[in-house]
């Protein structure tokens, strides 16, 4: 018991100094590294443990985080546009208003991100992934209202079918109202994901797994659904005008509310 109290006290002191028991660097180390960086020599945090650090408000534009651990880090208002975040672990990171535009997040893990300060998602707090590369990433988070315009999500795993433990209170990825216009979602696992009122105009959904996904009210104008799995997909008032490959999709007849889709 005494040992536990001691460990908790030690952790509290380290946290007060901006350090964590696990992190390789302190917040001050990170800021100093950013100050030393410049055009042509971006800050390098590759394979560093930055878990739980308060990195809010810092400008990391162009920095290299490949393979870094950002578990539980606070990235509120942080600027990560154009950064290299290949294979990073961002699970439980706080990403309110975080700018990931154009960043390379391929193969990253984004499970249980904290994107909102309230139970109801607020679009103004949502992070931006516009033009980011999230191909092969694992995403299981509430990101409603986020900007994912033109993002690459090919083979990304956003679904929550059988692989999600039943004890988890967050049972599916929420992308309601997201701007995914022109995004590449080819081969992505979106099973059971909520895409209500999402903007998917011109999106590439070839071969995507949309089983039991909620696409009600979504705009799929001009989207390519060739080979997409639509069994149980809710298409209530989803806009399918000029959508391509519907005739080559899988299980369209088993989609829900197909008759109410706008075609």
């Amino acid at each position: 018991m005494r040992r536990r109290v001691f460990l908790l006290a030690a952790a509290a002191i380290l946290l007060a100094l901006g350090e964590t028991p696990a992190a390789d660097l302190t917040v001050r180390d990170v800021t100093e590294a950013l100050m030393r960086a410049g055009p042509g020599h971006p800050a390098d945090f590759s394979h560093r443990d930055l878990s739980f650090l308060d990195l809010s408000g810092l400008d990391f534009a162009g920095a290299n985080f490949e393979g870094a651990d950002l578990y539980g880090a606070d990235l509120t208002d942080a600027k990560l546009a154009g950064s290299r975040l290949v294979g990073v672990r961002l699970d439980r990171a706080v990403v309110m208003r975080t700018d990931f535009a154009g960043a390379d997040l391929s193969g990253a893990r984004l499970v249980r991100l904290a994107a909102f300060s309230t139970l109801e998602p607020r679009a103004e707090e949502a992070p931006s992934f516009a033009g980011a590369n999230l191909s092969g990433a694992v995403i299981l988070s509430r990101l409603s209202g986020a900007n994912l315009r033109g993002a690459r999500l090919s083979a990304a795993r956003l679904g929550s079918g059988e692989r999600t433990p039943r004890t988890m209170t967050l049972s599916r990825t929420e992308l309601a109202g997201c701007d995914l216009a022109g995004a590449d979602l080819s081969g992505a696992d979106l099973a059971s994901a909520s895409l209500r009122f999402a903007k998917l105009a011109g999106a590439d959904l070839r071969g995507a797994d949309l089983r039991n996904a909620d696409l009600s009210g979504a705009d799929l104008t001009g989207a390519d659904l060739t080979g997409a799995s639509l069994v149980g997909t809710d298409l209530d008032e989803s806009r399918l005008v000029d959508a391509r490959g519907l005739d080559r999709s899988l299980g369209l007849a088993a989609a829900r509310n197909l008759a109410r889709a706008i075609r």
Binding site: A12, A16, L17, T31, L34, D54, S56, G57
Partner: protein, 234 residues
């Protein structure tokens, strides 16, 4: 014509001040962080009194003389508003002429109140230690954090003393301007003395209510910045 060009170049060099040995930004005498409490007890009028007090002080010729009185005749100034979370409201700004101080004063007056509920001084000190001071853009002969507020830390998220000591260990001086108004009026000066201030020449200069803030901050600026031996004011 060539003589005119040479004269212009010489004038430009004189105005820009001495360059640092490393060829980067020229050095300054002091890097000063103004950390202003905007917690729940600081209502709109009290906020205005604080910001107007800071702005008026920066426009004061005596303060301007103090700001520019050191060997480098320049300083760096930043302003942090703090409550639940700290925010760098005005990033590091070089003050090398009275006009620079006056422009900074204009920015102070134009700030929006970033208010919240709690008095999280520990979190503010952590922010200054981890993010603000490491971003000082020029060599500074000394670094000072000027903390003002009307209450002790009620956030409990982080510990003020450890953070104060961490700052002092990096040669930072923390001065305090407790505003003695409200329920902590009789105890706040002691708390600031025991828990907040520290470092070489650190001092406390209380304001006796928000209405006295402008007088206190002016006096504090002069004492803090001018190269006069520091004293404890009670």
């Amino acid at each position: 014509m060539r003589a005119l060009r040479l004269l212009a170049a010489a004038a430009a060099l004189a105005l820009s001040g001495p360059a640092s040995a490393e060829g980067g930004a020229p050095p300054v005498d002091t890097a000063l962080v103004l950390a202003v409490d905007v917690s729940g007890s600081v209502d709109a009028e009290r906020y205005r009194l604080q910001m107007e007090g800071i702005a008026a002080a920066l426009e004061d010729p005596d303060v301007q003389h103090a700001l520019l009185s050191g060997p480098s005749q320049a300083m760096l100034l930043a302003l942090v508003q703090w409550s639940d979370r700290p925010r760098l409201s005005i990033p590091w700004t070089r003050i090398a002429r009275p006009a620079d101080a006056e422009a900074f004063a204009d920015r102070v007056r134009a700030l929006s109140r970033d208010a919240a509920e709690f008095t999280c001084m520990g979190r503010m000190l952590s922010f200054v230690y981890g993010k603000v001071l490491p971003q000082v853009p020029a060599p500074a002969a000394r670094s000072v954090v000027d903390v003002s507020g009307d209450g002790s830390d009620n956030c409990n998220a982080e510990r003020v003393v450890e953070l104060r000591d961490a700052l002092v260990a990096t040669d930072v001086t923390i001065n305090g301007l407790p505003i003695l108004e409200g329920k902590e009026a009789s105890t706040l000066a002691d708390w600031y003395r025991d828990e907040v201030i520290g470092g070489a020449g650190a001092f406390l200069l209380p304001a006796h209510g928000f209405g006295d803030f402008a007088r206190a901050i002016r006096q504090k600026f002069i004492t803090e910045i001018s190269w006069v031996p520091t004293t404890t004011f009670e």
